[in-house]
Symmetry: C2
Subunit: 464 residues, 2 copies
């Protein structure tokens, strides 16, 4: 890859040309705006863009890309900055292209369970509108991430075990290439075997291949009858057995979350939360009709008790259900309560579920070795794990960064991946060679096809 020095910069003349394309109201070189767009929600260091531009249309994006490409100016796409691996930090300066003002719903195809949107819409805002149609877009990374950002990172979340990640819910994209060409990929058919699957190649490419200017997404019907379950176990291995049994039961969980004893203890710092401080599962299920709720709950209870659950709480009452999830949804508040003033280093790896006990044993070892706390929660239904490492200063950062590396290497060794849902961004660059081997070279060559001058989000995925 080419070093920073060889990129063009946005000088006054280029800034004027950008303003002519996007309108003066949609550009800012003010330091405050540049700072706001220099960092995401991670612990990665900030990097200032030369200019922040709010695109209004695909045509504008196309013109800006032509200009940037001709002058080899880096372009980094921005949704709302909720990434946690440094994904949208403009490492090499240049143009920070925000999609915040391209946030319209283009069309709702309710009969087809589909919606077409601009990339800047927040998924929570989208789901608020879709609720009127009894539909929702299932991936739920938290915060109010934009659809564009979710597509860039292949974001996932709690409901992925049933509904898949963002990639599984993308049907078609309009994209702008580095040279300004506007292209459509995919179709409104949910089944596609027509040539190479470009739409899903773009999904998860973190803005390094193309910019998404419109997306057609799959939707799911909102379910009416939901069951929440908490099951507590003595041993991690028992909890994992229950995960396997639940997945094998045909009950098709909507959520299947693991928390370790340390995390349970941390959650107990929240008001009105008192969890057993043992490994446990939080689950959610859907029943198609009210009449079968009781039978379904009994069935889930049976499965968990058979596998050694020491405590099972199952409820179909909506208030009780939300209360059960309250602690899970307020992890960061309880972190701040327990570790005031400290920062959180957030790890994201994923492994086959059978490797969960080995991975967790590795984390236990690291806790003992370092004497530092580590809190663990995971989307167990799909083998994803997050560890929260509190840290105070640069010295502790270096320790937890090394602990993170050990966990990532272990996950790869166990047949898993360096990142289940946060993407590579800046934080996982160093693990790509170990995870992908020679396939990384193919990825680089594909990058060259889409972006031969290397201006799209440079420094991400491949580093440098």
């Amino acid at each position: 890859m080419i070093a920073r020095g060889t990129f063009g910069i946005v000088d006054a003349a280029i800034a004027e040309r950008i303003a002519a394309i996007a309108g003066a109201d949609n550009c800012s070189r003010a330091r405050a705006e540049r700072e706001l767009h220099s960092v995401d929600q991670s612990m990665h260091p900030p990097s200032l863009p030369d200019i922040v531009v709010w695109a209004r249309s695909a045509a504008q994006v196309s013109e800006i890309m032509r200009l940037a490409n001709a002058n080899r100016i880096p372009v980094t796409a921005w949704g709302v900055g909720t990434s946690i691996e440094g994904n949208p930090i403009p490492l090499h300066g240049g143009i920070l292209l925000s999609f915040e003002r391209m946030n319209e719903i283009v069309a709702i195809h309710d009969e087809d369970f589909q919606v077409t949107v601009q990339p800047g819409i927040g998924y929570k805002d989208l789901n608020e509108t879709l609720a009127r149609y009894g539909l929702f877009f299932p991936p739920d990374p938290g915060a109010n991430a934009t659809i564009g950002g979710m597509i860039a990172n292949n974001a996932a979340g709690i409901r992925t075990v049933k509904y898949g990640a963002t990639r599984d819910n993308v049907l078609a994209l309009q994209i702008v290439l580095a040279d300004g060409r506007i292209i459509r990929t995919g179709s409104r058919s949910v089944k596609q075997s027509s040539g190479y699957d470009l739409a899903h190649l773009i999904t998860g490419s973190e803005g390094t291949l193309a910019l998404v200017t419109e997306a057609t997404l799959k939707l799911a019907p909102i379910t009416q009858h939901n069951i929440a379950v908490q099951a507590v176990f003595d041993q991690v291995a028992d909890a994992v057995d229950a995960v396997v049994a639940v997945r094998g039961s045909g009950l098709d969980p909507v959520a299947l979350e693991f928390i370790d004893s340390h995390m349970a203890a941390m959650m107990n710092s929240s008001p009105n939360v008192s969890l057993a401080e043992s490994p446990q599962l939080f689950m959610e299920f859907h029943a198609a009709h009210a009449e079968t709720l009781e039978r379904t709950m009994a069935f889930i209870r049976e499965i968990c008790q058979d596998l050694g659950a020491t405590q099972v709480l199952a409820t179909a009452d909506n208030k009780e259900r939300l209360a059960l999830w309250y602690a899970r949804h307020h992890v960061f508040e309880s972190f701040q309560r327990l570790h005031p003033g400290q920062r959180a280093y957030l790890n994201d790896v994923a492994v086959p579920i059978s490797a969960y006990p080995d991975l967790i044993a590795c984390i236990d070892e690291l806790r003992i070795e370092s004497g530092l706390p580590a809190y663990l929660l995971g989307h167990a239904g799909d083998g994803n794990i997050h560890i929260i490492f509190p840290f105070d200063d640069e010295a502790e950062y270096r320790i937890v960064d090394a602990m993170n590396a050990r966990v990532v290497e272990k996950a790869i060794e166990l047949g898993g991946t360096a990142t289940g849902e946060h993407g590579v961004g800046m934080g996982k660059v160093d693990f790509m060679a170990a995870e992908h081997g020679e396939a990384l070279e193919l990825m680089r060559q594909i990058k060259d096809v889409f972006d031969p001058r290397g201006i799209l989000n440079p420094g991400k995925i491949f580093g440098a």
Copy 2:
């Protein structure tokens, strides 16, 4: 693309080198073998390979590719020849590389709901073994297609509405590139946001990007309590409304098939089949436990009757369920009974479900215009439609080929795709520009990255 004349051929010297790699017992230049591997189950004309080679290992495939690449000899992968769009026909001769003898199960990861296999295993054979673990690989294209062929075509089938197509069930691949490099892509984690999604780019690329020598697949638990439903309607539009309502009900159908009145009439030629000759749906649902079967059936009946079904048959009895599906599974036998000596031209398109009535109206018009029969069945749950056009001779072939083209163009116009599950092969090449526009050029450039000399299944997807 480069014309046929510029490819190398397998002469005696090359054949000897291939035999040295694969073993003499695993190669044949006999006309009978070459003829057996010159055509799939479609109406596309045969084309003879120079040699048939049965690979035994990825290492052999690698050596053969190095030899082929150096001499620019075409290599076309072969599973068992059940494709229906000419996908594995060796259009430019060269090496027909059969994976029939690489048909082992490498590892069963039952706790992870995963299996690793060689590409030559038939999915029905695989599922027979997996049944012992209570698991199965859900995509079901019919015949006993090999996993390698299913990956190549992104094959799907009746259960796709619930479980997805092959692409949705591929986790990791070992592939051999045109230059002989052996590469791994993807991982055993079901959640992956780590770099570009090469495994799913390879899936559906019809052997034009790389050869799959090993695949790790997602499995699903076998369900014990199944419900079959047949619902008859007066109008296509009512049946489509029922498809939308069923998908919106949260009942998560395992199968959701449409057949038109003409197809119902054809099916009635089967012994013991007497269907109403009206538009109708065949469905299958899963109930997680026996106690809720009755209530679930009543719920489905309600939905269909509310939407104007004139007849609803629902059963949880296994014998009755299989009897209901009998007609659907024996379409080709009833075709042969009704059209003895005629051949079948099989169409495959997919659209958003809301466009079903428009697409079907187009087919009705074509029937009237041509005076020829056309039978329609569709995986309505995912908007896929197949039309069977009987034809007798070259003159009729030209007519039905033109009818097929009209249907494909209509599907694309309606926001759909030229192929939902059969792939592009030879038959859909001419529609790629209309469907993909400028994206086709990107696909070509990706092809050049993987296969710069154009030796992998030449003539497919891009033509020439």
